[in-house]
């Protein structure tokens, strides 16, 4: 029990030092927005850091959507090339770098599926089963391991119907009309589910709006 606080000032600084068994905090990481800015200046080293920070998320999302690993690799390569080329167009005032990069990844992955797809009908059952998969195969080293845990937990707070609709739209890359068709639900119902589900996710994840 420390001495009771008095009004003479803050407790001694020494009390705030971590125990020796606890490793020092790693050096401050550069924010992705700053890496984007430096990439826009043509700094390959900054781009490389950006790659390291996002490769697992970009490749993983592409793979989840296009399913074929070699195609996912192609999509990821396109995405990173586009990040390099378009870095100067990124506007941090309009959203985070993470959002910009993942939106790009999602769009390019869906493009790939749609262009290659016309003939191929993907199996809905496989898509649904994939909701739960991969969790263990995902690398713990990913910078966002903590975030992943939070997202999984928050996905668990959705209703089954909300989760199903969001999963089909996002991880399987379906339009809301296709989701409605697959789930034999009216279009406005699906729109509402997607929106209500995102509201719940947003609030659960503490995303500031």
């Amino acid at each position: 029990m420390p001495p009771p606080p008095d009004s003479s000032g803050p407790p001694p600084q020494a009390a705030r030092r971590p125990l020796s068994a606890v490793p020092d905090a790693p050096p401050e990481q550069v924010r992705p927005e700053e890496l984007m800015r430096l990439t826009a200046l043509g700094q390959e080293a900054a781009f490389e850091k950006l790659y390291d920070a996002f490769a697992a998320r970009v490749f993983g999302l592409a793979r989840r959507i296009v399913r074929d690993p070699s195609q996912a690799e192609e999509v990821a390569q396109e995405v990173f090339l586009e990040i390099w080329r378009r870095a100067s167009r990124f506007d941090a005032g309009k959203g985070s770098a993470t959002s910009w990069i993942m939106t790009l990844t999602h769009a390019r992955s869906v493009d790939r599926v749609r262009s290659a797809q016309a003939a191929t009908d993907r199996d809905l059952k496989v898509a649904q089963a994939s909701t739960e998969r991969d969790v263990d195969s995902v690398v713990e080293a990913v910078e966002s391991a903590f975030e992943r845990k939070a997202v999984q937990r928050c996905l668990g707070t959705l209703t089954e119907l909300q989760r199903e609709s969001i999963t089909l739209a996002y991880y399987s890359g379906y339009t809301y009309r296709e989701v409605a068709e697959l789930l034999t639900a009216p279009l406005p119902t699906i729109k509402t589910r997607l929106r209500d589900g995102l509201i719940r996710l947003r609030d659960c994840l503490g995303v500031a709006t």
Binding site: M102, T103, K191, R202
Partner: protein, 268 residues
């Protein structure tokens, strides 16, 4: 299409699930609907986090291919916004992206009683280390439950100190019930937690103090976890500016698990 429908479209749009032939109308609507575009922005940040779940380490060949290609790929110049009533100047090809100075967090549009907490899990390693250290060090600094004992004893308990402090400031949680009375002169805070739902036996509410983005565990809240009001007084450390509550496995965690279900600033 009715306006009500367009309001609903933000979800599908953020998820990339709006067909091209519909997104144009929604884009137009967003120009005029401020709440819709704010909602869409929040949804986009939310959706971006979904990608954390599917993360998967790519083959090393990807890195080599990407770095080889960018080495021979030119970059696009920034989009120039022509200055109002000034002649347009040639684009400066080396100029950084428009917001060269990325806005420092917290974003300006946050209500001033909201402490942005998303940054917590951006640096999990540092967090865990800091929180573990804080837990160990903080364990001795736990004071008892306030019995509302307003006696005039000379030797004050921290809760008495807070209750009688001239500089005490009361704040309310951002979203939820209860109150927070912070007294800088006592280096202590009295937190009244009310109205939190009963938790299953294997979970507990845990209280954290925040110094900017750095959490420090204050205690678990057994009464609140059982659905009862709980009043606690805790010592604070310099730099701490908010308190927050998360749901953790029984016994508490070394580092906070999201979501934050309750938070309040220390002081007005």
């Amino acid at each position: 299409m009715s306006t009500a429908d367009l309001h609903l479209d933000t979800g599908a749009m953020a998820l990339g699930a709006l067909p091209d032939d519909e997104s144009e109308a929604v884009q137009a609507h967003l120009q005029t609907c401020e709440s819709c575009s704010a909602e869409l922005a929040g949804f986009r940040e939310t959706v971006a986090m979904l990608a954390a779940v599917s993360a998967e380490v790519p083959p090393t060949s990807l890195r080599r291919a990407v770095m080889a290609r960018i080495a021979v790929t030119p970059q696009l110049p920034p989009l120039m916004v022509p200055p109002v009533s000034q002649p347009e100047r040639p684009a400066d090809l080396t100029a950084p992206a428009a917001p060269a100075e990325a806005p420092a967090e917290p974003p300006a549009d946050l209500p001033d009683n909201v402490v942005p907490l998303r940054r917590w899990y951006r640096r999990p390693g540092a967090l865990v280390a800091a929180a573990v250290a804080a837990l160990v060090l903080g364990a001795g600094a736990v004071f008892g439950i306030n019995q509302a004992n307003q006696s005039n004893e000379v030797a004050q308990t921290p809760e008495q100190c807070v209750a009688q402090a001239a500089d005490k400031q009361t704040t309310s949680p951002v979203d939820g019930q209860g109150s927070v009375v912070y007294a800088p002169s006592c280096a202590a805070v009295t937190i009244d937690v009310t109205g939190l739902p009963d938790l299953p036996d294997d979970q507990t509410y845990q209280l954290w103090a925040l110094a900017g983005e750095q959490p420090r565990s204050l205690d678990v809240l057994p009464d609140a976890s059982a659905g009862q009001p709980q009043l606690v007084t805790k010592s604070t450390q310099p730099g701490e500016n908010a308190v927050a509550i998360t749901v953790e496995p029984a016994g508490g965690s070394a580092a906070p698990t999201l979501p934050i279900i309750w938070q309040a600033k220390l002081g007005a």
